[in-house]
Structure formats: structure tokens, C-alpha cells
């Protein structure tokens, strides 16, 4: 096992970039600390996937990004993802923000929706209070690296009692492997507020050939009684490594819903965790993935229950083609004192070729007696009885299999909140399943 890794960044470089961008001093210090820790901390160690064999250090160089003056200047493949007529849109290109727009109506209610760099300057106190609080900077090399490098990013703030009806949409894309692409997404939903956020994290594939690493972090703070729906579809190029950590901290009677499509063409670590600190807090997590060629994926969903009567539900469904492999971990942890908590999880893998590999590992860790918990896991092939049934109605074998596979993924696809992103997901599925 090789652990000899070059350090992708150092204190001076990280701090110099931050100073050059005019970041506040607390953030400059945080970047320096991240850079230093990234040299010594180990990479995360997902179950049964040796990510240290991947190229994790191709984090690229900082390059200033110019804003576009209209969305028509964005690449066609990016424009297609934009919800028709939306006024609430953020676009990140490589290292920085290219477009940021928020409706007057939401702004007047005190909603903030901008890139995290701008937020750090304009709403410094708010950002400082929450940044790297759900996920700690010193957890591992990945978190430290993100602290040192993050750029662009997304900041969502919804004040108390404000309900945001329409989804806030972000598109984060790279079109140059050599440029750093390390978003950090921070969402704060104050008491009894409500918001839906959806992003597409994509490569302009014809333009991205060289190896790159996408170290990304999502932090969501769900205050008492608030509801946050978080949707994200990832489709990065084959030469990329997607390392995405997502974490929500949910207070009393708050709710987080995760809808994740891990549809990259390259290797992927995706770890989505809800920390249910509040009584009556709830979490619903749905993840789908399709792997092809020699892709390796580590897909983890986690729920940690501290609050009484907290409830979590996690579903992961993956389809593995060709020689792709997926290790799927579901971890439900119920802490002592979380009485009447309920945690349910299900992981299912459909394997479409003899060389594909899938592992489903449901893990229940329970330190409290007065709880309910359940898990289901299955790994298998397309059921020949189902194929026979559909064929007996005149449907060809390939169409029958396609229907069954799409049906397998349907429970997640149908939940994606933005029509344009749902269509993106369907296009990606179509391409990845046929390609």
C-alpha cells in the first residue's frame, strides 16, 4: 500500500491566494491551517476501497474566473441544466463564481444565496460561525485540503420563518482539469424556515481530459422546525476523482432530505451523513448510482441519532455495468438516550455483468434499548422472471431490461425537485446505461 503522497498545497501558497482574493483574516488563517494539516493528516479510509491508489492530489492551480454577462455565454451543456425562467441561480466555473442571481422577492425577505467567497466578505460573521462546524477541518486530509483550497462555493441563508417556495439552483462545472475545482457548500436554515436547494456538479466532458481531483464539502444546518431538501447530481469526467462529503446537523423537529445522483464517469467517494441532534428531528436520504467501465465507487449514507424520537430513512440503489464496482455502506448509529428513535436503511445493487462487483454493508450501531431499527440489503442480477414477463407482452429483451433497471432507480429519480435536473438525471441514466 502506497502512502507516499506529495502534498498538494502548502501554507504560504494557500494564504497568498486567500490574501490575493482579499479574504478576511480569519479565513486566511483557516486556509493556512488547512494547508498545514493536509500535509500530515491521512486520507479517509472508506471500507474495502483503496482510494490511496487513485490520483488524489491533482487539485490543480488557482485561476481567477470571470463572471459571464449573460447565461447564454455558458456552455450549451450547462445551459441545458438551468430551470426555465429561474431567478435564483448560481454558477461556478472551475475556481470561481461565473453567475449569481437571486430574486428581489427572496432578497427582500432576507434570504442570502450567493457564492461562499462573496458571503465570507459580505456576511463574514455568519459564515465564520458555521464554516467547518458540521464537518471539522481536521477530520482528515480531505477536509483539511478543502479548507485550504475551497473556492467559489455556495452560501444559502434562510431567515427564521421564511419559506422559499422555488428551488434554489446551483451548477458547478469544470472545463479545465488544470484549474482547482473544490467547492464548499454551506446552507443555514433558521427556525421554521423551508428551502429546497438543487445542484448539478458536472464536467464539460470534451474539454476535460487530464486527471483532476474534486474535493468537495457540503454542510447543512437545519435549525428547529426547519425543512431542507438538498438535491445533487454529479457527472464529472472519467479522468476525475470525486471526493464529496456531505453532512447535516438537524435540530429539534427539523428535517433534512438528501437526494443524490452519483453519476460520475470516474472514481467516486460519496459520504452523506445526517446528525440528528434534536428531539423529533428527521432525515430522509436517497442515493442512486450507475457505474461503468472500471469505475470504483464508495457510497456511504449515515444517520447518527442523538435526539429522542428522531427518525432516519436511507436508501441507496446502484447499477453496476461492465467491470465497475460499488461498495455501499449504510450506517445507522443510535446513541444512548435517543429513546424512541427509529432508523431504517436499504441498500440494493443490480449487477449487469459478470465482472461487475457490488457490496452492500448495512451497519446498525445501537446504544439504546428503546428504539426501532431495520435494514435490508441485496445484491443481484436482473430477475429473469421479470424479463420473461415483459417479453411475453412483446417487449424486446433489451427494452425489458431497460425498463426494469429504470424502475429500480425510479424511487430516487422521481424525487428530484427541479424538472431540468430530473431531465439531466434521466439523460445521464440513459447514456450510462446504454453507453
Amino acid at each position: 500500500m502506497s502512502t507516499q503522497l506529495t502534498t498538494p498545497t502548502d501554507r504560504q501558497t494557500a494564504e497568498a491566494i486567500a490574501v490575493g482574493k482579499g479574504e478576511p483574516s480569519w479565513l486566511v488563517a483557516l486556509r493556512g491551517q488547512g494547508a498545514e494539516l493536509s500535509a500530515t493528516l491521512p486520507w479517509p479510509k472508506p471500507e474495502k476501497v483503496k482510494i490511496e491508489r487513485w490520483n488524489l492530489t491533482a487539485v490543480g492551480q488557482y485561476e481567477a474566473t470571470d463572471k459571464v454577462s449573460s447565461i447564454q455565454e455558458l456552455p450549451q451543456s450547462v445551459q441545458e441544466l438551468i430551470a426555465e425562467g429561474t431567478e435564483n441561480l448560481l454558477v461556478q466555473k472551475n475556481t470561481g463564481v461565473a453567475w449569481a442571481q437571486l430574486s428581489q422577492e427572496l432578497a427582500s425577505k432576507g434570504v442570502i444565496f450567493t457564492d461562499l467567497e462573496t458571503a465570507a466578505k459580505e456576511h463574514g460573521e455568519l459564515v465564520q460561525k458555521y464554516l467547518f462546524q458540521a464537518i471539522k477541518l481536521d477530520e482528515n486530509k480531505l477536509t483539511a485540503l478543502n479548507a485550504a483550497l475551497w473556492n467559489g462555493g455556495v452560501f444559502v441563508y434562510v431567515p427564521k420563518n421564511v419559506e422559499v417556495e422555488l428551488p434554489l439552483q446551483a451548477i458547478l462545472y469544470n472545463d479545465k482539469a488544470e484549474a482547482t475545482f473544490a467547492p464548499h457548500i454551506l446552507i443555514i436554515a433558521e427556525d421554521n424556515s423551508r428551502v429546497t436547494y438543487v445542484d448539478s456538479t458536472v464536467s464539460v466532458k470534451e474539454a476535460v481530459q487530464a486527471e483532476f481531483t474534486h474535493p468537495a464539502i457540503v454542510e447543512v444546518f437545519v435549525k428547529p422546525g426547519a425543512v431542507v431538501r438538498f438535491g445533487s447530481v454529479h457527472s464529472l469526467a472519467e479522468s476525475g476523482v470525486d471526493l464529496s462529503l456531505r453532512r447535516a446537523v438537524v435540530e429539534n423537529d427539523g428535517r433534512i432530505e438528501w437526494i443524490i445522483g452519483d453519476l460520475n464517469d470516474g472514481n467516486t467517494v460519496s459520504d452523506t451523513k445526517s446528525v440528528l441532534v434534536g428531539n423529533g428531528s428527521t432525515s430522509d436520504t436517497k442515493v442512486i448510482s450507475v457505474g461503468q467501465r472500471k469505475q470504483q465507487m464508495s457510497l456511504t449514507t449515515q444517520a447518527v441519532h442523538f435526539g429522542k424520537s428522531s427518525d432516519s430513512n436511507m436508501i441507496t440503489r446502484a447499477v453496476m455495468r461492465e467491470a465497475a464496482s460499488a461498495i455501499i455502506n449504510g450506517i445507522t448509529k443510535i446513541e444512548h438516550g435517543a429513546t424512541k428513535a427509529n432508523g431504517v436503511q436499504a441498500e440494493k445493487v443490480l449487477m449487469l455483468s459478470p465482472k461487475a462487483r457490488g457490496d452492500a454493508n448495512p451497519i446498525l450501531l445501537i446504544d439504546e434499548d428503546d428504539v426501532t431499527a431495520g435494514h435490508a440489503a441485496s445484491v443481484g442480477q436482473v430477475n429473469p422472471e421479470q424479463v420473461y414477463y415483459l417479453m411475453s407482452r412483446g417487449i424486446s429483451k433489451s427494452d425489458a431490461e431497460r425498463l426494469i433497471i429504470h424502475g429500480f432507480l425510479a424511487p430516487v429519480v422521481s424525487e428530484v425537485p427541479v424538472e431540468a435536473v430530473r431531465q439531466q438525471l434521466n439523460r445521464l441514466l440513459e447514456r450510462k446505461l446504454q453507453g
Partner: protein, 259 residues
């Protein structure tokens, strides 16, 4: 050309065990044939072998529909040629709505470039569902998932009505149906009786035949058709059971391929 379905000397086995030992049967358009017999005599195997279930291997004989060799065809080709099997245990397909499935099946039959318009499809589907007294929400439910036994059977008949096959095989369509559902299903079948459509109804109860009057009744035992007659044969079987047939033919164990 009027429909003609011919089974000639059909033998089939499952996992090396011969179940069908030479079936001969001819069904013309407009005719309803009933195959009756106790459990374990090969009736459902006949249905599955005709449709092409991958577990059954045909070892001898031929089957043709309007002169076309059915046994040479894949399962989907048989369906597109006009065969339909209403199954005893229809599969559940999660995530695929009933209406998406039905439309795919209709379009597969019609062929590329000749797809049914969405509006016409919905009108047809809703009309037939009404005939079958099905709750409209079943169009949007996942295919057979969580359907009761009776709902699955009605859904099979719905498919038959929409696909308008030439040769319909009903495999134990009456099992698990209460009397109301039985009447509805039978009405559906009767509504589909036509000069160019043949039926093969497999059942071990006479009661379905109170609602659908067959032209011919065949008794199956030991993987063969051992006796044929008209509707009166079904009535005698209902009254007297199968023992007299066994006695007449000197059969002690009517089953086939049982361990």
C-alpha cells in the same frame, strides 16, 4: 386469413424431467378450448412452453400460428406474432408504472414509427379499465406491485384487451378470484370473442366455464390430452370429478414429473 393455431406432438421437459409427452391440439379463430385436469398433470407447463418460458425445453413436436413456426421465435416475437398468455403468477415490476408498461407493450406490437398517440392510449386504457371495474389509480401504480391476487388477474385481462392478440392462453385465470371478480374477468374474455381470435383456457374448476362457454373441453393427465369432448364433458367432470376418466382409461396416478 382466419386464425389457425396448431400444436403437433409437443414434448417438453424441465430440468431434464419430461412433463409434456406429446400434445396435439388445433384451435381455429372463434373457438374456445378448455383444458381441464387435476393439479400436477402438466397444464401450466403447456402454457409456459407455448409462450417460451426459459425454464422449459421443448424436445419434440411443432407449434404454429397461422403457418408461422412459433417454437423458432423468442418470447417477445411470439407475443408480437399474436400470442398472449395470462399468467397464473404475474411478475411484480417495481418502479415501472402500469401505464408505462402497457404503452411500451402496445408500441412494441405496433412497431417503430407506428406508435400509439398518448391521448388515444389513455382513452383506450381508461375505457378498458372501466369495463373491468378497475380503480383508475391502478394505471399509475407500479406493475403488479402490491396488487391482490384478483387485481393481478384483472390486470392480465386488461393487457389482453389492449394488446388484441390472435391466440389467448388463460392459465388458471380463475384461481384466487371471488365470484364478482370471476364474472368481471369472464365478461372481459367474452367481450374479446371474435372470429379471428382463438382461446385456450386452462383451469381445474368448472366454475369459470359457467361464465365462458367453451366449444371444446380437453382433459389432461400424465402430460397428455386423454379425453376431449364438448361443454357437456366439463359439466360431467364438475358433477362426478375425474375418477371416472381415470377408471375408463386405466390410469392410477394422473400426475406427471412429480418427485
Amino acid at each position: 386469413m382466419s386464425t389457425k393455431f396448431v400444436i403437433d406432438g409437443l414434448k417438453a421437459e424441465i430440468e431434464g424431467k419430461e412433463i409434456l409427452k406429446g400434445i396435439n391440439l388445433e384451435i381455429k379463430g372463434g373457438e374456445i378450448h378448455a383444458i381441464m385436469g387435476p393439479n400436477g398433470t402438466g397444464k401450466s407447463t403447456l402454457a409456459s412452453a407455448l409462450m417460451g418460458h426459459p425454464k422449459y425445453e421443448v424436445t419434440e413436436g411443432s407449434v404454429s400460428l397461422d403457418g408461422e413456426d412459433i417454437l423458432e421465435m423468442e418470447v417477445d416475437e411470439r407475443a408480437r406474432a399474436g400470442m398472449f398468455l395470462a399468467m397464473q403468477y404475474p411478475s411484480e415490476i417495481p418502479g415501472v408504472t402500469n401505464s408505462d408498461f402497457l404503452r411500451s407493450a402496445i408500441n412494441a406490437r405496433r412497431g417503430e414509427g407506428n406508435e400509439i398517440s398518448l391521448i388515444k392510449f389513455i382513452r383506450q386504457m381508461e375505457g378498458k379499465m372501466k369495463d373491468l371495474e378497475m380503480n383508475p389509480e391502478f394505471a399509475h401504480r407500479y406493475l403488479n406491485e402490491g396488487f391482490s391476487g384478483g387485481e393481478k388477474k384483472r390486470n392480465e385481462i386488461l393487457q389482453m384487451m389492449l394488446l388484441e392478440p390472435k391466440l389467448v392462453i388463460l392459465d388458471e385465470i380463475d384461481s384466487g378470484l371471488d365470484i364478482d371478480a370471476l364474472r368481471i374477468v369472464a365478461n372481459g374474455v367474452n367481450a374479446m370473442r371474435a372470429e379471428d381470435r382463438g382461446f385456450l383456457i386452462i383451469t381445474h374448476y368448472q366454475r369459470l366455464l359457467d361464465y365462458i362457454t367453451p366449444d371444446y373441453v380437453h382433459v389432461m393427465m400424465q402430460g397428455r390430452i386423454v379425453k376431449s369432448g364438448g361443454p357437456e364433458l366439463a359439466q360431467r367432470l364438475e358433477k362426478e370429478g375425474y375418477d371416472w376418466v381415470k377408471e375408463e382409461l386405466g390410469i392410477t396416478d394422473e400426475t406427471v414429473g412429480q418427485a
